[in-house]
Every structure is written in structure tokens, then in C-alpha cells.
Amino acid sequence: MKTDSSPLRYLREDRLPTIWCTGCGNGAVMSAFLGAVEDAKLDMRKIAVVSGIGCSGRIGGYLKADSIHVTHGRALPVALGTKLVRPDLTVVAFMGDGDAYSIGGNHLLHAARRGDDVKAFVINNMVFGMTGGQQSPTTPTSLIEGSPLARHARPLDGPMLCATVGASYAARWPAAHFAELRESMKTALTTPGFCLVEALSQCPVQFGRRVTRNLPELMKWIESMTIRVDEALSRRSTGGKLLMGEFTKEEGGLRPGLGELIGG
């Protein structure tokens, strides 16, 4: 049943169900976004949605919004062109880790450096899901298959990168941290300049193959690979874990101490 408060009113119901696998985090992220739009009291008609290629890129096609599904990796420059011509609109870009950190890495770097007024939402499932589970730039080193050379790679920290080069706002939350993810997305939607929120999301089918396909176990495993920013700062160590939380201080730029944490 559809009520006034149901997120279904923001979706193209004739396109449901989604193509996403059972247990996929994409639906939760899309739902958190719709919650954030409500929290920020934004009018969906004044939001332009750009999305890239991959499972995450399908979000734009499910939202009842002006949306454009573009080439792999190029959501950010398309979003910038849109925003510069229509500054009255809020322009959001949904990307996966392949989109934002691999093929589109250069655009991410420069969008954050320039302070493009675009809200980037990255669903990082640490794997190329749609193409069969190949490693992505965020696949944990311990899970990389292949030669010693391939296993030498370190995962890319997108929010840290963006915060370091000048993003107004950068944050990461596991998709399971729904309320915090929604709150961060709201902050991004209402903060001027380049904002990035990464949802560390579960892909039970393709990523699960490397860890576990048991969904609760997988979500706990993802939780166990993270540490809250505040806790890491007070311990003066990440303990080798991924930071979760906000990477920027209120007025933008990297929070004090975070750079040393990552460097050490």
C-alpha cells in the first residue's frame, strides 16, 4: 500500500522489482537517499540525477526524477555541466567503486579539487559485481586473487582522497548503518561544494564469493573491517581498518589528525 510517506512515490513503480540480487545493499542506499531528500526538505523535481554504469548506476532509472544514465566513469563531469547551467537544481551522481574510483578516478580527483557543486554518492561493494566479481580498486588486499604483483595493490580510500584535495564534505558508512548514512546524505545534499558519501555495501553474490554468501555474516564481516573516525583518532591508530564516519570538519577540509592516521 502506498501512503503519502511511502518512498514508493519517489520510484518508477512500473520498473519494479529492481534487477538487484537478494541481499544487495543498493536498495538500502537508494532508500537512505530518499530519506535524506525528505530530511533536507528538497523537492524531487529540483533534483537532477546522474548515474554511471554498473549495478549502482541503475538507481537513476528507478527514481522518479529527471535522470540521465551516462557512460562508465563519467557521471561527475556530466553532473558538473548540468549544475553550471542549472545552478537552481541539486545535482547528484550515483556511482559504484568501479565508476568513481577506477575508470572515473581522474574526474573524482578534479571534481573534489575544484569543488564542483555536485553530490556524489558512491556505492562501494569492493567488487565489479555486474561483470562477474572481478577485483576493484577497493577490494581488500587479502582478498585479491592472482599474482604477487596484483596482491601488492592497496585499496583506494575515496572519502579520504576527496577530503584531502578539498571536498566540502566526505563520509563513509556501511550500508547497514542506515540512519547514519541517511544523515550523511542529508548533510551532503545541504552542503555547498563537492560532497561525497560512500556507502560500504554488501554484494552477497559476487563479493560474497570471496568471504561468505551468508548475508548476516557478510554484513558483520564488513562491520568488522571498519573503525569509527572518532575511535581511531582517540586511539591514534586505525588498526589497519577502514574509517567510518565523517572525514571533514564542519567548514570543510580534512579533520585534524586523520592524515597522520592514514599515513601511519
Binding site: R45, I68, P77
Partner: protein, 368 residues
Amino acid sequence: MDFLSGSELIAKGALTAGCRAFFGYPITPSSEIMELMAKGLPGVGGTFMQMEDEIAASAAAIGASWAGAKSMTATSGPGTSLMQENIGMATMLEIPFVVVSAQRIGPSTGVPTVGSQQDLMQAIWGRHGDQMLLVLCPSSFSELFSMTIEAFNLAEMMRTPVILLTDGHLVNLRSTVSTDQSYEIVDRKMLDAKNASAPFRTDGSLVPGFPPLGKGFNVLLDTLSHDERGYPTPSRAKTESLLVRLKAKLQNNIGKIWMHEESGVSDSEEIIVSYGSSAISARRAAEAARARGKEIALLIMKTMWPLDESQMRSILKGKKRVIVVEQALGQLAWLISPFVDDSELISVTSLGRPPKPEKIERVILNED
């Protein structure tokens, strides 16, 4: 009359046509167009940004056009190579924008400072999948201005990307030229609210109305194959119908698209065919040969793709000698070869500069 460079004529033409967004990346020999647009756009309320690469420049120009602005980028062969995927996106999404490709010599880095005409096939065929876009090539200084306006008009009218093909010679040379004439300016036809649920249904016109942003139309533009609602579909039948329409909207409107110049076609069984900067030499050679009593026909092509096949056939029909003048190893010759029968096709090539008129004249008069 003004004394203007090719770059200045293109920039002036773009601003006259209503271009209000430019995204670029420096590359020889097109950087001056970018710099002129950077100077010209702020004064007319336009948007300019130098991007991190040509991929981003083409993507941002497409985003700007989605948002409703007439937009463009300018580059040269290596940059055009990088833009191809996004140009293909614009054909699929039916987003108008103009790409100026100022050609230089050679594959890879080649010689950046030496102009040429070697990216004709790249402009026509550079993208994957069955697709079609417009390739226009000015062949005089006044056309650098007027055909830039035409490129924007046709992009808007047909909802298609347009490649305006020129070269390092023309953008850098200067000439006295008048830009005082008035030109019709075409704006895209917008989508009616009542058609918002089927934004790609064209009811025979073949060109759907363009969806406005921010009005609650909720139109999805999808690079995936899509149906009339704009929804992605794996259906072979719907994909075929989309691809056939995208091609037909240009081919069936060839009368609005086709531009060429011809003279003496019925007077001679011999013809010179040329385009772009080479055409300037070809015209002069034809005049010189005619002055010496030699009857010779002339065809200067301006719409390089798609071709008006019946026009091409009727102009080239029965010609016994077809002298093709270009700065490439047979790209224009290949393009016109389907329309040349039982004739002797002679290539006059000069790779790094327009061929000297005298050289063409000697070929016309069999003096070589």
C-alpha cells in the same frame, strides 16, 4: 569586413548561434577556440570550464546540453579519439552538442602544428555500434562562421551531436571576411508535458521533443537501449526500432542537412572533388583551367556525413575523370568511390598543406 582567424570565426559563429556553454582541454591547434570562448562566454551569461581531459570536456558539454544550454567543445584528433565514447552517448541520448575537430597530421601525436585532413573517417565512423551523426566541413573563411551556426542549428533541430571538421590551416590563417549577414537561429523543440510519459515517441516526426529539467517531467535518458518511455530494454525488436529511427531521422531529413557547392557539372565529363581547406586550392585550379579553355566540373562537399546519395550519384554519374583533392591518403576518395562508375579516379594528395593550385591544374590539363 573584419580581418579574422578561423578560430575567431568559429568562436564568433558559436556565440551568434546561441552557444552558452563550452568545456575544453588544451590541444594544438584548437586551443585558441577554447581561449576565445573563455573570453566570450561570461559576457553573454554563458558557462566555461577548462576540464581535466577531453573525456570530461565532452561529458560536461553533454551535461550542459541536458540542462538546456547550447554547448560545445573543440579539440583535435587525439582529443576527438578520447571523446568518441561520449559522442556516441549523445547520439544514443539524442543530446545536441557541437564538437569542433581541428585536424592535424598523422596518427598518435603526429605533428601537432601541421594541419591536415586525416580525421574524416574518424569523424564519420569513430564510435562503436550502428550510429550516425552529422559531420560538417567549412571550405572557406565565411563558411567557418556560417557553418558553425549551421552546426548548432542542425544539432538542435535533429537532437544530434555534430562534428564540425576543420583543420590546423584554417583555424590559424586570417582573412578579410564579413560576418554581418543575419542568420536564422534554431532552438530545440521541447517536450510537451502530455508526452512526458513517452518521451521518445515521435509519431512520425522522428525527432522527439527535448525534456526540460526541474519541471517534474521525470524523463529518464538512458545510454542503454531504451523504449519509447525511455526505459532500458534488452528487447531486440525495440532496440532495432530505436537504431533504425536514430539513423532515419538524419537520412530522411537529408534535404535539410545536405550542403554542397557545384559548378560546371553538365559541361564536362571531368570533375574535381574536394572539401575543407583543400577546396580553396581546388576552386582556384578549376578557375585557372577554365581560363585556359579547359572545361572542368567542380564539386565541393560541405556535409561530409550523411551523404545525399542521389545528389552524389547525379553529380558524379558518367564522369570519365574524377580528380579527388585532399590532404589524406585516400579518405575522401574512399568516401565517394561508391558513386563513381567506369571512371578514372585520380587522387591529388598533399598531406601537410593544401595542395598548390598549380599542381591540381597540371593534373586537370594532363600536364604531369
